[in-house]
């Protein structure tokens, strides 16, 4: 990379005479990553996500050599891969672990982007393409889940596809198109297989290219308040080598997990034991849980009453989830302070509150503290109580750390979320009533802040 691009000989010269590569090399030589008072660690997460995606493509291609979609072959071929094919268990384990790690790094990447307000103009489309990539990643997870055609796959898909019928007008059509029939059947698997190995990968490669292109065009976001970074790190070779080093670390973590825990850590939602073959005529088994990144959705579906403002419960839950995701995607346009390149502590607090909201739902979905065993079901109220204590404990520690180390002073959204958790878990109010009260308190708090003009206080993001 550091070689002089003017040399006329060699392979480079041959290519340069034909395709004019010099401007590209010049661009790469001058590409810099901003350095500021902020930590640079957040700049590497996109690269880590890309690494895990590449691992998905590689291991997925290997799995395709043996996997056969079909009523009598899907389950059997996965069993063959894991028990008979040399290192088949490793390839499947790598594929599963890499999928989970990809989601982890993707979500961390998005949250760090939000906390640093890197979505602010002119990088709105980087955020939006990233958001669509997140939905594609969730689509990968959901469609891949069905392919082993085991019990868990069957019910996860039954629930996941059933929820699309809540879409007004075309819900039934969508349901039929997704399932390839009225019910989940092997037709559904064929459709999901096509999605998982052709449509989603093509869409992902296209969008990743667009995402990278806009990043190359604009460079990485400098810290808030600096239109031009005070100094930079050369991308080649300084940053690229660090990226490479991180990929090696990712590879070590991935292979260690894949080798020592080939079927996951045995936590519901993070395990991929093949289990029993799907039987559409068997009832759903106790303790059935979706993947960990869908647990909050699962728990919301449980918390919504049968009817909600004239809608059926699942419709209400899905409307809320869509609204939340829509707001998340529209963040660059909602956060007007960041648009003016000003600190926007409220949005940092929204990020923290979102983590608390999701964390509490996840703990409840795991029935933490709810007791229960093979015979007795966990008690949801008892579980909510214990989960609330944990969540509020985490919130207290996180808030103290934010105040002490990040000098943040804006905790209104976190406070409202904590209030909801306390009202539901400790005072025993229903989840939605607790949410309504907390939203009312939040609205009053925002009005008071606005009236006092305190929302203009200078606080670090």
């Amino acid at each position: 990379m550091s070689g002089e691009p003017e040399s006329g000989g060699g392979v480079f010269g041959w290519l340069d005479r034909r395709y004019g590569l010099k401007p590209l090399v010049e661009f790469m030589r001058h590409k810099e990553v901003p350095i500021g008072a902020h930590s640079m660690v957040w700049y590497y997460l996109g690269g880590a996500t890309l690494f895990f995606f590449a691992m998905q493509v590689a291991t997925g291609a290997l799995l395709l050599l043996f996997y056969q979609a079909g009523e009598h072959t899907s389950y059997e071929s996965i069993r063959f891969i894991t028990t008979k094919v040399p290192f088949g268990w490793l390839v499947r384990s790598l594929h599963c672990w890499s999928a989970h790690l990809m989601i982890v790094s993707l979500i961390t990447h998005m949250f760090s982007t939000m906390m640093l307000k890197a979505y602010r103009p002119p990088r709105e489309l980087t955020w939006v393409t990233g958001f669509v990539l997140l939905t594609l990643a969730l689509g990968f997870g959901f469609s891949g889940y069905l392919l082993p055609w085991n019990e868990l796959a069957f019910f996860a898909t039954a629930v996941g596809t059933d929820s699309v019928k809540a879409v007004p007008g075309i819900g039934d059509f969508l349901l039929q198109v997704l399932r390839g029939g009225a019910d989940v059947s092997i037709n559904t698997l064929h459709r999901f297989f096509g999605l998982h190995v052709v449509l989603l990968p093509l869409a992902t490669v296209g969008l990743v290219s667009a995402h990278l292109l806009v990043i190359q065009r604009q460079g990485m976001a400098p810290p808030l308040g600096h239109k031009v970074a005070p100094r930079g790190m050369r991308f080649f070779p300084d940053f690229a080598l660090r990226d490479l080093q991180l990929w090696l670390i990712c590879l070590i973590i991935l292979t260690s997990l894949a080798v020592f825990l080939p079927y996951g850590p045995h936590i519901p939602g993070i395990e991929w034991e093949l289990g029993k073959k799907a039987n559409p005529l068997a009832p759903a088994y106790p303790g059935i849980k979706p993947e960990w990144y869908f647990l909050w959705v699962y728990q919301l579906l449980k918390e919504f009453p049968p009817h909600f403002f004239g809608m059926e419960g699942p419709q209400g839950a899905l409307l809320l989830i869509s609204a939340l995701l829509g707001l998340w995607a529209a963040m660059p346009w909602i956060d007007r302070r960041a648009q003016r390149d000003e600190a926007s502590p409220g949005f940092s607090d929204i990020g923290a509150a979102a983590l608390l909201f999701l964390g509490f739902l996840m703990l409840m979905a795991w029935d933490v503290g709810g007791g229960g065993d093979a015979v007795k079901l966990p008690d949801p109220q008892q579980s909510a109580h214990v989960c609330a204590l944990w969540a509020l404990g985490f919130a207290a520690v996180a808030t103290a750390l934010r105040a002490l180390f990040l000098h943040q002073r804006y905790f209104l959204f976190t406070g409202a979320t904590a209030l909801q958790i306390a009202l539901h878990g400790l005072a025993g109010l229903s989840y939605l009533l607790a949410a309504a009260i907390s939203l009312a308190v939040l609205a009053v708090g925002l009005l008071v802040l606005r009236a006092r003009g305190q929302d203009r206080s200078e606080v670090k993001p």
Binding site: F155, A158, V159, T161, D162, S163, F173, Q176, V177, R179, G180, G181, A182, D183, N187, P280, L281, A282, P283, A284, Y285, P286, G287, I288, Y298, L301, K302, E303, F304, P305, P306, H307, E312, G313, P314, L377, P380
Partner: protein, 157 residues
């Protein structure tokens, strides 16, 4: 011959643009309509009428007090209550479509996915299901066989 006034030329261009636009819409429709029809699955064919349980299903019903069978494209839960009365309900939870089960000890129908509970007539007792389970007819014939009859207003497709 008189030259055409400019506004007439403009109108003609607009008309062509309009026709071109219409052509594009027609083209898009002719592409997407077959694709959408291709994606929508054919109406499933299956015995939608009364159904006799197989010998295996009867054995399961005797030993486990319940069995789930396929009727048309739907799934039906056939069970024997504490009074040994045969009953049949739609086996698909009205919440999110998981398959429910009969819990003989508690005399309830339970869905493990989101903890929905119904009574033995399919009415919601607790949890998030928004609607009751549809009731199917179920008779034990003289020869010991069991027949499941879909509800009259069954919308199985």
């Amino acid at each position: 011959m008189k030259t055409t006034p400019p506004d007439v030329v403009h109108t003609r261009r607009s008309l062509l643009d309009y026709l071109l636009g219409l052509g594009f819409i027609g083209f898009a429709a002719s592409v997407f309509y077959p694709v959408l029809r291709y994606l929508k699955p054919l109406a499933a064919a299956g015995p939608g009428g009364p159904l006799k349980l197989t010998a295996d299903e009867l054995t399961k019903l005797t030993h486990e007090h319940s069995v789930i069978t396929r009727l048309g494209t739907g799934r039906v839960l056939v069970f024997e209550d504490a009074q040994q009365k045969l009953r049949a309900l739609d086996a698909r939870c009205t919440h999110e479509g998981c398959t429910v089960q009969y819990v003989p000890g508690d005399s309830v129908i339970w869905c493990a996915c989101h903890n929905g509970r119904y009574d033995l007539d399919g009415r919601v007792l607790a949890g998030p299901p928004p609607r009751p389970l549809a009731i199917y007819g179920c008779t034990r014939d003289a020869d010991g066989s069991v027949t499941v009859i879909p509800p009259k207003n069954s919308s199985e497709s």
